[in-house]
């Protein structure tokens, strides 16, 4: 049986608008399981509830109804909050809001220090984490002088130094240039594929969702679609109705099909397109 790291049952979350007492239901009964080692992409329009969902994964928000369980720990139990946060690390959109120390290695050590780990072990964790995100040679550098992609990788290093089971990324590439975006995606991919880290990746870039094992599409506080990237992005009309899009390569494939050039359906990446055309 596949082990579930995250189990969400009928999750409801409401925000109270301070101005006029209006209650907005941001999550309206979400059911979702994430398996150990899975790479899950979450896409959805602005205001669909993606970020609210993410904040439930490490007890930054607590359910108004329903439940969120991380490796058997219920987020509603106050005594488990720290154990949950140690297991689920989060990376946010803005690289400048997440770095706290004067050097890369101090920043990476911040989490383990707070967990009360022995200095010798912290040294080992920091060196190891920086190596895994490809920033070993940057350990003495000042974080604020790094590029956006490097900053996000420092943020990731700080999290994996706490030995989490799950990495949650909430639009980690939204503010990055093309190189930064590729660096972050390559790092996250490697942590997932080579080390089996469970990843929940929230994004507005359809090209990034292509690399997930499974895609969940959120709309109006509910899960509207769920499937492999190939299944999801072949439902073009539905995707567009949900304010989303398909990757450029998939759209090209659709255009070619309309002109009578029929390639295998479900082509999503540039390399797949090259292979299909060169056959």
């Amino acid at each position: 049986m596949v082990r579930k790291v995250i189990e969400i049952k009928n999750l409801i979350h409401r925000y109270n608008s301070s101005q006029d007492g209006i209650v907005i239901e941001a999550l309206k009964g979400v059911d979702l399981h994430v398996a150990k080692g899975e790479f899950l992409a979450v896409i959805g329009h602005n205001g669909s509830g993606k970020s609210t969902l993410a904040k439930h994964l490490n007890a930054l928000l607590l359910p108004h109804e329903g439940s969120v369980t991380i490796n058997g720990l219920d987020t509603r139990k106050k005594e488990d909050t720290w154990a949950i946060r140690q297991q689920v690390g989060m990376v946010f959109q803005n690289p400048d809001n997440q770095l706290v120390a004067a050097t890369v290695e101090e920043d990476t050590a911040f989490g383990p220090e707070n967990l009360g780990i022995e200095p010798v072990e912290i040294r080992r964790l920091v060196d190891d984490s920086l190596e895994r995100v490809g920033l070993s040679s940057f350990h003495k550098r000042a974080p604020h002088l790094l590029s956006g992609g490097q900053k996000q990788r420092v943020a990731i290093a700080g999290i994996i130094a706490m030995r989490p089971n799950v990495l949650v990324l909430d639009e980690p590439t939204a503010m990055l240039d093309p190189t930064g975006r590729k660096e972050v995606m390559a790092t996250v991919s490697a942590l997932n594929k080579e080390e089996g880290l469970t990843v929940v990746h929230i994004t507005h870039f359809m090209e990034e969702a292509v690399f997930a094992d499974r895609v969940v599409v959120m709309s109006e506080g509910l899960i509207a679609m769920e499937g492999t990237p190939r299944e999801i992005f072949s439902r073009v009309e539905e995707i567009k109705r949900l304010r989303l899009d398909v990757p450029q390569i998939a759209e090209l494939n659709g255009c070619l099909a309309k002109e009578g050039l029929l390639l295998p359906p479900g082509i999503l990446t540039l390399e797949e397109m090259v292979v299909a055309l060169c056959q």
Partner: protein, 288 residues
């Protein structure tokens, strides 16, 4: 009429240990009616450069002329320069502050002393340009709107100043695909219908490819390319070296060419790629 930069450099914290030359010796002309893209990796100097267009920053060396007026000349009112050149920052919705959409958009026009009637007509017109229904939105608090709507309110606030030149810093960052398409459609319309001169900063090569005629590429504070979009993206090796990329469709054509396909590699959009692939598959002759 145009914005002309001659030998513009900007140094932050000069004569201090933190001295940093953010842009170096930039020569540039933005002519009325153009739509131009500005790309460069994070920290390349894009934001520093665009803040010179309306005098938010003054050059430490060189000269900036807006419609022939030197922005640092004595007696020049920066207020007049900023009426001409509207700047929309990254995440402009963070700068919304008023109680209603109307008040927020009206803030600029009121500030330059327009009366109630004129202000109202400016607000209505600006809201129309970004597809916000006046009756529906005017009395709503901007903070209850969605991300895409908030950004359109912020854009309307700049448009209400009726700038001749509009400079947008990553206007689509963080928006969902539909929100992104809407903003880009409004930008295109402002250019086509209102004849506004547009400079757009973006990290999305795909958006740039379908939007702009001319492209400015900067790297480490220096101007690397300033040419037609197609010519710039032909320099793919250099672009990759400086942390940028080419549009997806250009990358596809380059890969096909590597595999021996007789395709043109100066392709930018899905439509062009489709036509080029069909031409090769059907064995037609290349359009020169």
């Amino acid at each position: 009429m145009s914005i002309v930069l001659t030998g513009v450099s900007h140094t932050y914290s000069p004569n201090s240990p933190y001295e940093m030359k953010a842009i170096k010796n930039i020569d540039l002309e933005i002519t009325e009616g153009e739509i131009i893209g500005l790309i460069g990796h994070t920290g390349s100097g894009k934001s520093t450069l665009i803040q010179h267009f309306n005098g938010l920053l003054k050059p430490t060396e060189g000269r900036v002329l807006v419609d022939g007026v030197d922005i640092v000349k004595k007696g020049v009112k920066l207020k007049d320069i900023r009426k001409k050149v509207g700047l929309v920052f990254q995440y402009p919705e963070h700068q919304l502050f008023e109680e209603t959409v109307y008040k927020d958009i009206a803030f600029g026009p009121k500030n330059i002393g327009l009366d109630q009637e004129k202000t109202k007509s400016r607000v209505r017109k600006a809201m129309k340009m970004v597809d916000l229904d006046y009756a529906k939105y005017r009395d709503i608090s901007p903070f209850t709107l969605s991300g895409g709507e908030k950004r359109r309110v912020a854009l309307a606030g700049v448009l209400a100043m009726q700038p001749k030149y509009l400079v947008l810093d990553e206007p689509t960052a963080g928006l969902d695909p539909r929100g992104r398409d809407e903003i880009l459609r409004h930008v295109t319309e402002l250019h086509r219908r209102e004849n506004m001169t547009i400079v757009i900063v973006s990290h999305s090569m795909d958006d740039i490819a379908r939007l702009v005629d001319r492209l400015i590429v900067i790297n480490q504070g220096e101007l690397v390319y300033n040419d037609r979009t197609r010519e710039c993206f032909a320099q793919y090796e250099e672009l990759k070296r400086i942390g940028l990329d080419v549009p997806t469709m250009t990358a596809l054509m380059l890969r096909l060419a590597e595999k021996g396909w007789p395709v043109r590699t100066d392709i930018l959009t899905i439509k062009e790629a489709k036509e080029e692939i069909l031409r090769v598959v059907r064995g037609g002759a290349a359009d020169a």
